[in-house]
Symmetry: C2
Subunit: 667 residues, 2 copies
Amino acid sequence: MDRRNNQWVHPDLEKERRKCTFNTLELTHLLDGGPKKTAERKEREKFFLEDTELRSKVPLEYLSHKEKYEEAVRKSCLIFKKVQQLQNEGKGGMDNFREILGGQLGSAILGDGNPLTLHYVMFIPTIMGQGTFEQQAEWVQRAWQCDIIGTYAQTELGHGTFIRGLETTAIYDSKTEEFVLNSPTLTSYKWWPGGLGHSANYAVVVAQLYTNGKCHGIHPFIVQLRDDETHQPLPGIKIGEIGCKLGMNSTNNGYLGFDNIRIPRTSLLMKNNKVLPDGTYVSSPSSKLTYGTMIFVRVVLVQDAATYLKKTSTIATRYSAVRRQCQIKPEDPETQILDYVTQQYKLFPNIATAFAFQFSANWLWNVYNDVSSQLETGNLDNLPELHATSCVLKAVSTADAAFGVETCRLACGGHGYMTASNLPSTYGLVTAMCTYEGENTVLLLQSARFLIKMWQNKKNLSHLPTVKYLQNALHKKLPFQKSVTWIIAVLQKVSASKIELSNNNINKRIQNGQSPEDAWNNTSIELVEAADLHGRTFIVQTFHESVESLKVSPQLKTVLQQLVELYAVYHALKLVGPLLRFADVNAQEIELLQSWLEELLKVLRPNAVGLVDSFDICDEVLSSALGSYDGNVYERLFQAAQQSPLNAEPVNKSFELYLKPFMKSQL
Amino acid sequence: MDRRNNQWVHPDLEKERRKCTFNTLELTHLLDGGPKKTAERKEREKFFLEDTELRSKVPLEYLSHKEKYEEAVRKSCLIFKKVQQLQNEGKGGMDNFREILGGQLGSAILGDGNPLTLHYVMFIPTIMGQGTFEQQAEWVQRAWQCDIIGTYAQTELGHGTFIRGLETTAIYDSKTEEFVLNSPTLTSYKWWPGGLGHSANYAVVVAQLYTNGKCHGIHPFIVQLRDDETHQPLPGIKIGEIGCKLGMNSTNNGYLGFDNIRIPRTSLLMKNNKVLPDGTYVSSPSSKLTYGTMIFVRVVLVQDAATYLKKTSTIATRYSAVRRQCQIKPEDPETQILDYVTQQYKLFPNIATAFAFQFSANWLWNVYNDVSSQLETGNLDNLPELHATSCVLKAVSTADAAFGVETCRLACGGHGYMTASNLPSTYGLVTAMCTYEGENTVLLLQSARFLIKMWQNKKNLSHLPTVKYLQNALHKKLPFQKSVTWIIAVLQKVSASKIELSNNNINKRIQNGQSPEDAWNNTSIELVEAADLHGRTFIVQTFHESVESLKVSPQLKTVLQQLVELYAVYHALKLVGPLLRFADVNAQEIELLQSWLEELLKVLRPNAVGLVDSFDICDEVLSSALGSYDGNVYERLFQAAQQSPLNAEPVNKSFELYLKPFMKSQL
């Protein structure tokens, strides 16, 4: 997909590229994980993007909702075939799948979601993770070769966050050795699962398990939903799609109700908990193990947050190099909008944030793997810290990514509002991440609960890398230094102070007679802020330490260090209140930070386009008239407009039908 | 449209309504401007909303882009007919038009923009404002009775903010007494005007006027675009729509290029500037008068910002009263999410902000009328202040409204992501306001320019109500008081300090050898912050003074004062950095502010539903499954899903076409 050779490039972008002080290819390799990984990624992109069958004749946004779905099924089947081809060639790792099915590549091909993704991403992994060997033998092969297509049905109309409150019932009938599934209320209807509407014919369904009149809580069951041959919903299955959404309109999110659906006892996935034929419930002690998947998904989301920011900062930065508007001085030509300091202030921190999140995702991934190995040996010691860190990183990274994507969109002015910029649909996808896989406020409060507990035990934290700073952060004297390590120490002091303050406020409320639960709720605004501060502090530190440990050319190192500084100073200035309040920073030092920020924007200015070029996102994946490598913005916007079916005829039929009769009726 | 009688209402909402401490009808009347205005509004709503012809068979989101447009033209013609009926009954004031064509009522009927709005809102007013009496006689009657349909074509592909840079040319040919219009470049194509694509047959076109080889800058011309009978584009007119957008997809935004289009000399709107038959250009001195329209539009936008917040806070507050999730205490039933303090913190400040913006819009409207009267008498003294205030109010109110709408949407979790909540499309409309009619950063910098000038002249500001505080704000000692007047004084000190600091930094840069223009650009981050601070300070003050001067019942006064306090404290806490830095507020006082905030959330909690009820937005205008008066959330979500055409058949054709062949091919 490299179209960079022998191609016309906008002179403003050529000029920018000549100014770049480092080797963009070196940075691309670093971000991909080495030249081999870069080559593999490009090969994978080529394999999918050069397949003309995977292109749509008309851009999706012009189709009806139904047509969008039909086009998505067409492409999804083709993609799955190609995935199977990769499997057969031994290139079918889960990483590849994710990039193809849910990542930027899949998003570039499908545009607005894949109705079959959950089959590979949730259905098969759940059976593998929670099924017995017998169940795996029965189901995984059939699922793997797509003889059946599954989804994962957990959330209900009335319950998302609080999964203990799910209402779907699975009542064991020992006479027939079956479970009977029911949706006792409207709110118990399953609601949201991708592909559930009209695509999948099987699902893992999460329901409250009852045996012998006793509820044992939620458990996963494999349930057939539609006839293998006709795809008709089975009797008693009430199923459909939930309707249009802000984004992901090809995902075919569905609803599902059960009316006395009988499934065999062996439909319960029984790796952890069993029901014996006579209805005896046998529970497993290792329920903490299911945390693993949740944490894995959050690693992926932090990575995705970085990827979305890379994409939109590429679009907005290239456009800002080409777009000229107004004059700084009356005698000058119109200014590249990238030269306005306010524009730099909107874009460059988002470039830095993309790096910060990628390095944080790398950290989380490594720790996740370490802790997973420990879990295998029965050691759960590091799980709470990992869980809390994954919560706060998911919340901070998705919130900042959504805000950053929107900042990039708004920085492109009116043209950023056009679908052809690909910025609106990117926002639709990135903002969804703030809600799914743990709503952000809920996650911050979970993380805060861990932090308060650690604060109350702060003498024993030296073995916990993310919170050990709590032990002595408060007592540090921190005279101003123009360095990232100073900012990190200040942020740690601020973060520890806020945790201490929240803890004190909870205690005060309890002393005043509130229950611990009410005291917690009444302190929750500050608890959310404390967790957020802790998360940001951790990201600044991780970004800094990751860059310092890199073995790269001095030219690249310098630029990456500038990005670390920008990220650190930018956030310090966003947190002036806490800095002054908790860390004895004074007003004059804030002025020094402000000057430092302005210096950094200036030194990064010549490398702005080089940095986004190094993300190496090909034009097909960017899918943006504003962001293409050649900067041919206006021609592409104009060409995109020509694709509107409304422009296929000079006079729309509504003129004869409505407008002309109306206009003539007035004479 | 009042469906509140004899209707089932969710018990949680009934309970909330019983708790309300004030008369919601009194507040509704206050917001409408009196009982008579409330009655008129309701009559107008009834006149449009009870017309079944104005309803769509299928919700718009399921249609193709082309079908959406056709349905919009059908409805627009019906709406225009009804508007003419109102005119004939003497009810056709411009205020009514705006509400019907561009406001919430129009938005409820059309869903995603009206292709004919600019005819009434820009085309006719421009002819009336900038045409001679002869031109008005020629055009206004034809336009008024919709014999012709017009639009307003100013922005181009390459120019939005910088209108002096527009490239379309109108070169006078004295031989034929015609102007020749051309689009010399691709970037000179008109781009964005609503209704331009396929709806309007005339336009006011803004172009660079040349006579006798000399450019006289941009001027407005009336140009015919399409044949009166066939609607075919006239020869030399290159026209179409610009394609899909984040929102307003029924607006039919268009592009327009000219290839040697000849129009008569009298097509130039000549109220202010004339071209005589021989090509002599006669300029008028009163070009400042055109500021008036721009300012009027900004009054409307501040009002709209309030309206959007009323709508989304109604939806999110009612939903939060009905939605239950998790338990605060293990033994309790699931909690109404409105009882989580973090949820109150998301919603209540937005309710307060809706009021703050409405009172600010009222202030702006009154001053606009005063200054307009002064302009008639040639007195321009108060224009710069009004202009600067309209800039900053537009920027702050649209940015906060967009953020507030999105906060409300996210506060509704997954269901807020659904189109049926009406929150996604509302965001699409409200965020557009940040860009159009003056991009927000550009407007804040314009306002900052005024503020810096005032600072440099600060001895002579006593006649300027919005900036006179600059004279002595810095020197005030402000010992803490738990009062809004204290917060206002502190914010004024902070705002003045930031303006002073920005001014000092500009001067330092100039002393260090930078040109004034570069010094301005390099200080622009702080200048934007200064203007933003000034704007917020002004809104807090206006909100406070407006409420204090109201003659209402004590019960209502108390609640409105609590909202003023909440708005003031909320913003003070968002500005802890500046407060500590510039106003000698100390850390302990910040804790007092935080407690005050938490108290206010608690006292407002029982009135939350009452407050949004008093906005009195009928269900048809809310158009939200989550926000209806009866709180019947889950049934409405389920019913909305049933309207998806995909749910009309149990098996979609894509199964036989793509999915089955794929699944079977694996066996």
